[in-house]
């Protein structure tokens, strides 16, 4: 330190530490912000790349519509570039977590490779907590910050397939205990993809041992390549390496697909053959059965006919028998009659005889009786004689003999008489007997007659009975027959039905076979999809996030830096100005210009170099870390790796040092040009000037004294005016741009998902639907009360070409061009007028039109996946913010493509947008086999909101930095302002101005300049915002062009607030100004 000039320089620094520090600070702020923001995007990518390398993220993922077998794997392994090849399994499953059904991706862990540094273990996991599975029933889960319900160690989960199939077909185990928490570079974003089970969105993943999987084919093959080792994945070089390999694998895929296709088709054919045979058999069988049934019916009929005949015969016979019997009875009756007649005759005769005989008998009896009496008398006489004789034994004998003779004669006579009587008696008796015999005979005859009569009656009765019985029998017989006939008819009908049924069944079977044939025809070639690492959602999503930062850092930090440079330049210039006398003295002493200027160069150099270094060191650390940590809410990533980004460090430092030091050089050179004599004398004060305002008398005269002073002051120092306004305005502009950027990004969500998309959900269909099949789906949707309106639409990826420009977009063909307006609001952003979709041309979205430089009426080429190029006129340009769309009417589509339009999805409106309702609705819809996916606008918008939401933090960083800059700028400028006017201030203090009068004397100017600067800054901010958006917009997105009104308010208020706080700090400085300053000589 021999050199007194150098000594002086360092003393100067020491003496003006606050000035030195303010230059240091502003350079540090400018450089740090610029370098830090600029480095953020590269740092983010570097961090990701390092993470990917560390955990061996696949370079490529191959999937196929039908999976892979070992042969596929072997062939892939033979690809020369391949370093690691990992075939894995994955399935989608439902898990009930906290009573909510969630869809999980179930991934396989190659257990034998987990702990080894095996290059063929791709997409390695980072064990955050716990351990890896050791048993089949164990799994590891992730800790996803965006998920509300997480699985934790010890949680037990039960998997279900979410389809009709049993999960047991795919997995050995379906119950798992979570034993560890992992992170994997495979899943970096919060999105886990879509599925066709559950509510259509994968919520999270678990990983289980690969031994658990029973599915026959691998689902994914991951690959890494030798060439990509050490290559930065976000560079073109990386893609240049991958692209040829992708093509190669694609070709392999084509070949293998064809083979697989043949296998599948032949298998399907085999199956079809079996069904054909089965059908044939079934046909024969049914024929046989039918024949048998028919025969049975015939038999039945015969039987009935026979039965009828028999019955008939029986009837005839019966009738004959009845007739005979009747005849017999009739003849019996006749005989009986005759018999009766005979009998009556006989009996009459007999009665005559009887009567005669009886009379005779009576006579005879009388005679007998008489005879008997006579006899009895004679006997009595005899007996008397006898007794006389006996008594009279002494009688003469004559007499006695006479008497005895008489007696013996009498006895003889008596005896005779007796005999005779007896005889007649016998005769009578005989005759009597005879009569009774005859009577008996007659009675017998009568009896006989009676019995035959009885017989006849009996027989008649019998006949009658028999007849009745037979008749009832016949009736039942007839009835029976009728029944049988009925039965037969039924049988016949049944037969007919059966026949028809069988025919139908067979026809069905035929149709099925035909369908099967059709299906075989329809079997699409299985397709391999070869996905490069830089084509995966997670990779791109993260890259986009980093690119957004990059986009913002294109303009914002530059502008920031310029403001800082401007202020450091002002400060430095002012410093040199103040040292005028000193410079003159040195010059007078004979120092060379260079050695005098060196002081200021060194001063500025030290301040700016140390400021730059400090800024760069802090900036590289702080800004990337803050921003990245904001992003880590959404991305599962390790801590950021901040590197010392040499290019940005050098650029920012060089510029920071250059502007400050150059300012010192130029202003000192300006002073040095003058002669020492002039320099030593006080600088000719800049004359006061009348300002134009004074000419407007009615304003000027109304202004009070200090207002006039302020007005003059403002206008007097044009440079200061310019600097202040620019500095303040710049900060306001930066803040407005920051707020506006936030608005632009946040507004996308609202504008895209609420204003432009009026539908609430999209439904994906499994198959492209031909118009005739739409009815089924319409039925399903009409029945669903949750859906209020819907429209069929086809959406496919296409490329739009104008000249050499080629952009990716979605071609959307709605079912009905008029109905479309209920679902998508096609309108012009600037005029708000509806953009109609016609059959003459397509409506394309604004950003696409801008990128392709297309106007209404121009023509564009549309190239589809089959590389067909079709020319079409643009009939309208519509407002749109996310992705690019081309809307085309179905009629135009069919005309251009010469093929029937098929719809692969629907847009629908729902009656409710609550989470619960949507989950239910989507679960419901996904049960339908035709529906493959359901997506809700709320879900899309909220996930998009999350994505852009992290930008809020970034914007906050920008706003805070801009605020800090505003503070520093205002501080600096006020500082300069005060030190320039130190004498004046001291003077008015001497004049007796109170402190507040002094400050308002100084501040009024500041306040006015701040307000002017703020207003100007708002205008500048609009342009800056527009510029940032135009330069920083991502291709696939259009940021909203509007800045919300509150953002203007915020930026203005913040600026004014900063100005106020600077003034507050400065108040003390003003108070401290010594009045003695006014006594000093003018420098």
């Amino acid at each position: 330190m021999r050199n007194p000039l150098l000594k002086d320089t360092f003393r100067e620094i020491k003496g003006t530490l606050s000035k030195f520090f303010s230059i240091f600070a502003i350079v540090a702020l400018g450089v740090g912000f610029f370098a830090g923001i600029k480095a953020t995007s590269p740092d983010m990518k570097i961090t990701a790349d390092k993470y990917f390398d560390e955990y061996n993220l696949m370079d490529m993922r191959v999937i196929s519509t039908i999976g892979f077998n070992d042969k596929d794997v072997d062939i892939i392994k033979k690809v020369s570039e391949a370093q690691g090849v990992l075939p894995t399994y994955s399935i989608d499953a439902l898990i009930n977590v906290d009573n909510k059904e969630m869809a999980f991706k179930v991934l396989s862990l190659p257990m034998n490779k987990i702990k080894k540094p095996d290059r063929s273990y791709i997409n390695r996991t980072k064990l955050v907590k716990g351990r890896y599975p050791e048993k089949l029933g164990e799994a590891v889960a992730e800790k996803n910050k965006m998920l509300k319900s997480n699985l934790s160690i010890g949680s037990k989960v039960k998997l279900s397939s979410g389809t009709d199939k049993d999960i047991g077909e795919s997995l050995k185990n379906n119950e798992f205990t979570i034993v560890g928490i992992v992170e994997t570079p495979y899943y970096v974003s919060a999105e886990r993809g879509t599925t066709d089970i559950g509510n259509g969105k994968i919520d999270s993943f678990i990983m289980i041992s690969e031994k658990n999987f029973k599915i026959p084919r691998y689902t994914d093959i991951f690959l890494t390549f030798k060439e990509t080792e050490g290559v930065f994945s976000y560079n073109d070089e990386y893609d240049n390496i991958l692209e040829p390999i992708r093509k190669k694998l694609n070709n392999i895929g084509k070949v293998r697909s064809k083979e697989a296709y043949n296998e599948i088709v032949s298998e399907a054919n085999k199956k079809l053959d079996i069904s054909r045979k089965e059908l044939q058999k079934a046909e024969e069988e049914s024929k046989k059965e039918l024949n048998k049934a028919y025969q049975e019916i015939l038999d039945g009929e015969n039987k009935i006919v026979k039965g009828e005949k028999e019955l008939h015969d029986k009837e005839i016979e019966f009738n004959k028998i009845v007739k005979e019997a009747e005849e017999k009875i009739l003849s019996g009756k006749k005989d009986l009659k005759r018999g009766e007649e005979e009998y009556n005759q006989k009996s009459q005769e007999f009665n005559k005889i009887k009567n005669k005989a009886e009379t005779e008998f009576i006579k005879g009896e009388k005679e007998i009786k008489f005879a008997e009496k006579e006899l009895n008398e004679k006997e009595a006489e005899l007996n008397e004689l006898k007794t006389f004789l006996e008594t009279n034994t002494n009688l003469p004998e004559e007499e006695r003999i006479g008497l005895e003779k008489k007696y013996s004669g009498g006895i003889e006579q008596l005896e005779y008489g007796k005999r005779e009587l007896e005889k007649s008696k016998a005769k009578l008796e005989n005759k009597k007997n005879q009569l009774s015999m005859a009577e008996k005979e007659i009675i017998a005859g009568k009896e006989k007659l009676d019995s035959s009569k009885k017989q006849i009656v009996l027989e008649e009765k019998k006949l009658q009975e028999g007849k009745g019985k037979a008749e009832s029998e016949f009736v039942t017989g007839h009835k029976k027959l009728a029944n049988s006939r009925k039965e037969l008819e039924n049988g016949k009908r049944e037969y007919e039905e059966g026949k028809r049924e069988a025919e139908e069944k067979l026809a069905d079977a035929h149709k099925k076979i035909a369908d099967g044939e059709e299906e075989i025809k329809d079997i699409k070639d299985p397709k391999w999809y070869v996905i490069k690492r830089n084509q995966t959602f997670d990779f791109i999503d993260y890259e986009m996030a980093a690119d957004r930062i990059d986009a913002i850092s294109k303009v914002f930090p530059v502008f920031f830096f310029l403001i800082a440079a401007l202020v450091s330049l002002t400060t430095m210039t002012r410093m040199v100005d103040e040292q005028r006398t000193y410079i003159g003295t040195l010059k007078a002493l004979g120092y060379s210009k260079f050695s005098i200027a060196l002081k200021y160069i060194i001063y500025a150099g030290i301040a700016s170099i140390s400021g730059s270094i400090f800024g760069v060191l802090i900036g590289f650390k702080v800004f990337p870390t803050i921003i990245f940590n904001a992003y880590r809410i959404m991305y599962t990533m390790p801590s950021i790796v901040t590197i010392f980004n040499w290019p940005y460090a050098i650029i920012s430092m060089a510029f920071g040092v250059f502007t400050t030091t150059l300012a010192a050089l130029i202003s000192s050179y300006k002073e040095l040009k003058e002669t020492p004599a002039l320099l030593i004398r006080p600088k000719v004060q800049k004359s006061g000037k009348r300002i134009f305002l004074e000419r407007i008398k009615f304003i000027w005269s109304r202004m009070n004294f200090s207002q006039k002073v302020t007005a003059r002051n403002i206008i007097r120092y044009k440079k200061k005016l310019f600097m202040t306004i620019l500095g303040v305005g710049g900060c306001t502009a930066l803040m407005l741009a920051g707020f506006g950027l936030k608005d632009s990004i946040v507004d996308i969500v609202d504008k895209q998902f609420n204003e432009i998309y009026e539908y609430d959900m999209t439904i994906g269909l499994k198959n492209q639907t031909r118009s005739e099949k739409q009815g089924d789906i319409k039925n399903i949707l009409n029945k669903n009360k949750g859906i209020s309106d819907y429209i069929f639409a086809n959406e496919k990826n296409i490329n739009v070409i104008v000249g050499k420009e080629e952009k990716v977009a979605f071609l959307v063909v709605p079912e009905d061009i008029d109905d479309l307006r209920n679902f998508i609001n096609l309108k012009s952003r600037t005029t708000n007028e509806k953009v109609p979709l016609t059959n003459d041309g397509v409506v394309i979205t604004e950003k696409l039109a801008k990128m392709l430089q297309v106007q209404v009426g121009d023509e564009v080429y549309i190239k589809d996946e089959d590389n067909r190029k079709i020319r079409v006129k643009v009939s309208g340009i519509a407002e749109n913010y996310v992705s690019h769309y081309i809307y085309m009417s179905p009629i135009l589509f069919e005309r251009l493509y010469n093929q029937e339009i098929r719809y692969d999805g629907l847009l629908a409106k729902t009656v409710d947008t609550s989470k619960g309702f949507e989950n239910k609705l989507s679960t419901n819809l996904l049960k339908n086999p035709e529906i493959s996916s359901v997506n809700f606008i709320t879900g899309m918008s909220s996930s998009f909101e999350d994505t852009v939401g992290s930008l809020n933090h970034v914007v906050l960083v920008l706003i805070v930095s801009a605020g800090a800059l505003a503070f520093v700028v205002l501080y600096n400028l006020t500082n300069v302002n005060i030190s320039e006017r130190l004498r004046e201030i001291a003077t008015i203090k001497v004049l007796g101005f109170y402190d507040n009068e002094v400050s308002s004397y100084v501040y009024r100017e500041n306040i006015i300049l701040t307000i002017i600067g703020t207003i100007l800054g708002l205008f500048m901010g609009v342009f800056l915002h527009r510029y940032i958006i135009l330069t920083g917009e991502i291709d696939s997105m259009m940021f909203s062009r509007d800045i919300r009104f509150v953002s203007y308010i915020y930026s203005a208020i913040l600026t004014i607030l900063f100005a106020a706080s600077v003034n507050f700090v400065m108040y003390f400085r003003l108070k401290d100004i010594k009045m003695v300053e006014s006594l000093k000589s003018v420098e």
């Binding site: 006061g688 002073v709 002051n713 101005f993 402190d995 003695v1076």
Partner: protein, 234 residues
């Protein structure tokens, strides 16, 4: 009889690190109403300090100052400001005009803040500058600027007019003219004036001359018949 201005044993000690500098070391003097006083001394005698203390720009370490019956040595910051505002008119060596204000406006700047100011234009006329009233300081010569400064001080209608080397930055003739102006206007207006200078040549024009050295009053002499400035040569 109470003096109009009275300084009693005024001490002002600056502590510069470990060194005590006694700028004023027990200074006492008085000034009568409408008196024209010149304080002379060489550099470092304590002229500026006494001026600062008289002018209310600084407070003494000890001692008392009474101005028109008010003890200002005990004033706080704000009272001192009011004192400057209403009671003191100050004329600086380098005029200290506000560059951005015209002559008239510079006068008004001071006039607008005090209780009963004189009419600015009239005062300006009094100092002979009415024809320059709309000129900016940069357009005026040094003498003219000092006249404006005097007008500015007078317009306040102060109790005491303090002048710090009013001719220090001026050439001889102009200096003389300014001193004459001071002398004449004070006579006319009955103003009490204290001029601080190192120029001993002008002391004959004063009613009272206070010579100071090393922070102390060396001697005080009264001129029965002050000589008009025109007759003084130096």
């Amino acid at each position: 009889m109470a003096k109009y201005i009275e300084l009693n044993e005024i001490r002002k000690i600056y502590q510069m690190g470990e060194v005590e500098i006694k700028a004023l070391d027990g200074m006492s003097f008085s000034v009568d109403r409408e008196e024209f006083v010149i304080i002379v001394g060489s550099s470092g005698a304590g002229k500026s300090t006494v001026l600062n203390i008289l002018g209310g720009m600084d407070s003494p370490t000890s001692g008392e100052i009474i101005v028109d019956g008010n003890e200002i040595s005990g004033y706080d910051e704000r009272e001192l400001t009011s004192y400057r505002r209403h009671d003191i008119g100050f004329v600086f060596q380098f005029y200290n005009l506000v560059q951005n204000l015209t002559a008239l406006e510079n006068v008004e700047l001071a006039a607008q803040i005090c209780k009963n100011p004189l009419d600015s234009e009239m005062v300006l006329k009094q100092v002979g500058l009415e024809y320059r009233k709309d000129n900016f300081p940069a357009q005026l010569s040094g003498g003219e600027q000092q006249r404006v400064a005097i007008a500015r001080a007078l317009a306040k209608n102060p109790k005491l007019l303090l002048c710090d080397e009013p001719t220090g930055a001026l050439d001889y003739n102009t200096g003389k003219a300014i001193l004459k102006l001071l002398q004449d206007t004070c006579r006319e207006m009955g103003m009490t004036v204290v001029v601080v200078t190192h120029n001993t040549a002008i002391v004959p024009m004063a009613d009272k001359v206070i010579r100071i050295r090393n922070g102390k009053v060396e001697n005080i002499s009264l001129n029965e018949n002050p000589i008009p400035v025109e007759r003084i040569e130096w």
